[in-house]
């Protein structure tokens, strides 16, 4: 009996450890909700969503999240524009063209791109990419969405490429053989057969890249500026949601003030974006897994 009780006890401990992850989620939602609910008692949700200025730290306060959202989406869009074509071509090349040995060496190397700390990429964007781009575009500001977005794009290349490659590898071999059997070149096979067949997996990789870019913090905090601005111009300083949170957390905003709560209101906005994107990708992945099983 002793042994059986021990077994039961161990299972209970293991289960408790697993449940920590659920508590984490509950904790995140509770923290974001409770602080931002207090925030929304003082600032109306309508102002929050429609006001075009975000100046909570100034004397004349505005609490419109739109400038932060536009900053976030702008850098994200630039990043995805860099990472999506590159990542996709790499995935197709590695899965359809590259010799096996080359693939084995190059894949871990590509992963290195994702392993580099983001603060390092921030330095890269500010100190290398921006001066370089300023040579080409003289009126570009020192802080701007463009270099931050490009560097972020380089960082998320391995996300897109490895997820897309997995999707391409999951396409049944018979399909590929059928295409080759009809005399297609690798190029035709890739784009007419493989990519369409793997499209759901590729879409997942794009969504996750979006989600990743939206939540990225240090690159934009260092290189994109701290000026919330409702603009689509990639050459001027902007501010993203994440960079704003860093800006406030870095300073000495006292706990319990309205300014302090703005970071939770910004946080919940960010969370909602990534949560929706992640769930869409999870849902697609689940559906498409069923497809091939």
């Amino acid at each position: 009996m002793k042994k059986r009780r021990l077994e039961y006890f161990i299972e209970l401990i293991l289960k408790a450890c697993a449940v920590v992850t659920i508590l984490t989620t509950i904790g995140i939602i509770w923290v974001l909700l409770s602080e931002s609910l207090t925030f929304f008692k003082e600032v109306s949700i309508k102002d929050f969503l429609t006001d075009t200025e975000w100046t909570p730290l100034f004397a004349k306060k505005h609490f419109g999240i739109l400038p932060l959202i536009s900053g976030t989406l702008l850098t994200t869009f630039i990043a995805v524009c860099v990472a999506l074509p590159l990542g996709l071509v790499i995935a197709i090349y590695l899965s359809q063209y590259a010799p096996k040995r080359f693939r084995k060496i190059i894949k871990p190397l590509l992963e290195v791109l994702a392993a580099v700390p983001t603060v390092v990429y921030g330095f890269f964007a500010l100190m290398v990419v921006t001066p370089f781009l300023q040579n080409l575009i003289p009126n570009m500001a020192g802080f701007n969405a463009l270099s931050a977005g490009i560097v972020m794009g380089i960082m998320i290349i391995p996300f897109v490429s490895s997820l897309s490659e997995d999707a391409l590898q999951a396409v049944p071999k018979s399909l590929k053989n059928a295409a080759y059997g009809l005399g297609s070149t690798r190029f035709q096979t890739s784009f007419r057969v493989m990519v369409p067949a793997a499209s759901s997996g590729i879409i997942v990789s794009v969504i996750l890249a979006f989600s990743r870019a939206i939540g990225e913090t240090m690159i934009v905090a260092i290189a994109a500026g701290q000026q919330p601005r409702l603009t689509a111009n990639p050459l001027v300083p902007i501010e993203t949601i994440t960079a704003y949170i860093v800006q406030v957390a870095k300073g000495d905003v006292p706990h319990g003030t309205l300014e302090y709560r703005t970071i939770f209101a910004a946080g919940i906005t960010l969370f909602v974006f990534t949560f929706i994107l992640n769930n869409i990708s999870f849902w697609i992945r689940k559906k498409y897994r069923e497809q091939y099983d």
Binding site: Y93, F187, T242, V246
Partner: protein, 285 residues
């Protein structure tokens, strides 16, 4: 030109294009690392490692930063490793088909996608305020532990799944209980994969900046921590702080600190890859 010839040329062109794209990111990284090495390599000496931060860039060092990172690394590992492995074991070996497991599964995949800065907000409210740990190493370590938990759980599950069911059958067949089978057979056989995942997760934690800024790690700490309740800074925050200063000397310092941070990150990743290969060779079922 015939159609098939055109097709063949297109095919070949795409191949070269693919090679170019594959190397694009790596070349950028190489350019960048080269740049940093030129900027920062000469700045690294013993003094740089032993000096406290200072207002003068030439006198500044990263002593508080790297000791802080070391403290954070140790405590994050101590918290996340047992939690993550235990949770992974539970999901893979125990709660296979329960509704709790499917909830856990969705939840973990969701957590893996939550931006790191959100974990910072969680840590700020829960660990800094509710548990009143203050802006301490412990608060930072708990925050980062939760952040890397999904990575460790996923790695543990993959490693455990790679152990063939016949090993479990053999163990059960000899009268072993579930936990005995897990402890004596499944875990030893999957340790390589688990360690690989844990090292990768820790290396991620070492490079994290945003959540620690939010839980209140300081940019300027004039002393090295002596207990887990002390205030602290870490390498990435020191770098962030120096990058934001206009003085050129600080940029040099940032480059030098980046070299060291990258060295740590690459070494850890190297160890992880080495471990993975070694284990794969040792056990071939």
């Amino acid at each position: 030109m015939t159609n098939s010839k055109k097709n063949r040329i297109k095919d070949k062109l795409f191949e070269y294009f693919g090679i170019a794209c594959t190397f694009f990111g790596l070349v950028m990284l190489a350019i960048f690392i080269g740049n940093i090495l030129i900027d920062g390599l000469t700045r690294i000496d013993l003094d740089f490692l032993q000096n406290l931060p200072s207002r003068k860039p030439e006198k500044s060092g990263i002593l508080t930063a790297w000791t802080g990172s070391l403290w954070i690394l140790c405590f994050t590992t101590l918290i996340a490793f047992p939690l993550g492995v235990a949770a992974g074991i539970y999901l893979e070996e125990y709660g296979k088909k329960s509704s709790l497991s499917s909830l856990l599964e969705v939840n973990i995949s969701n957590l893996a996608g939550v931006p790191s800065i959100i974990y910072g907000l969680l840590g700020l409210e829960i660990f800094v305020r509710v548990f009143s740990l203050g802006n301490s190493i412990l608060a930072g370590a708990f925050t980062l532990a939760l952040l890397i938990l999904p990575i460790i759980i996923v790695a543990t599950r993959e490693a455990i799944r790679a152990v063939p069911p016949s090993i479990r059958a053999a163990s059960y067949g000899l009268g072993a209980s579930k936990w005995q089978t897990v402890w004596h057979q499944v875990l030893p056989a999957s340790m390589g994969g688990i360690f690989t995942g844990v090292i990768l997760a820790i290396s991620r934690a070492v490079g994290e900046t945003a959540p620690l800024i939010v839980v209140g790690a300081l940019a300027y700490v004039p002393f090295t921590p002596s207990s887990p309740m002390d205030e602290f800074t870490v390498m990435p925050i020191q770098i962030f702080n120096w990058v934001s200063r206009p003085l050129h000397g600080f940029t040099i310092n940032a480059a030098a600190a980046i070299i060291i941070l990258l060295l740590i990150t690459f070494i850890m990743n190297g160890i992880a890859v080495y471990l993975r290969n070694k284990w794969q060779k040792k056990i071939s079922w």
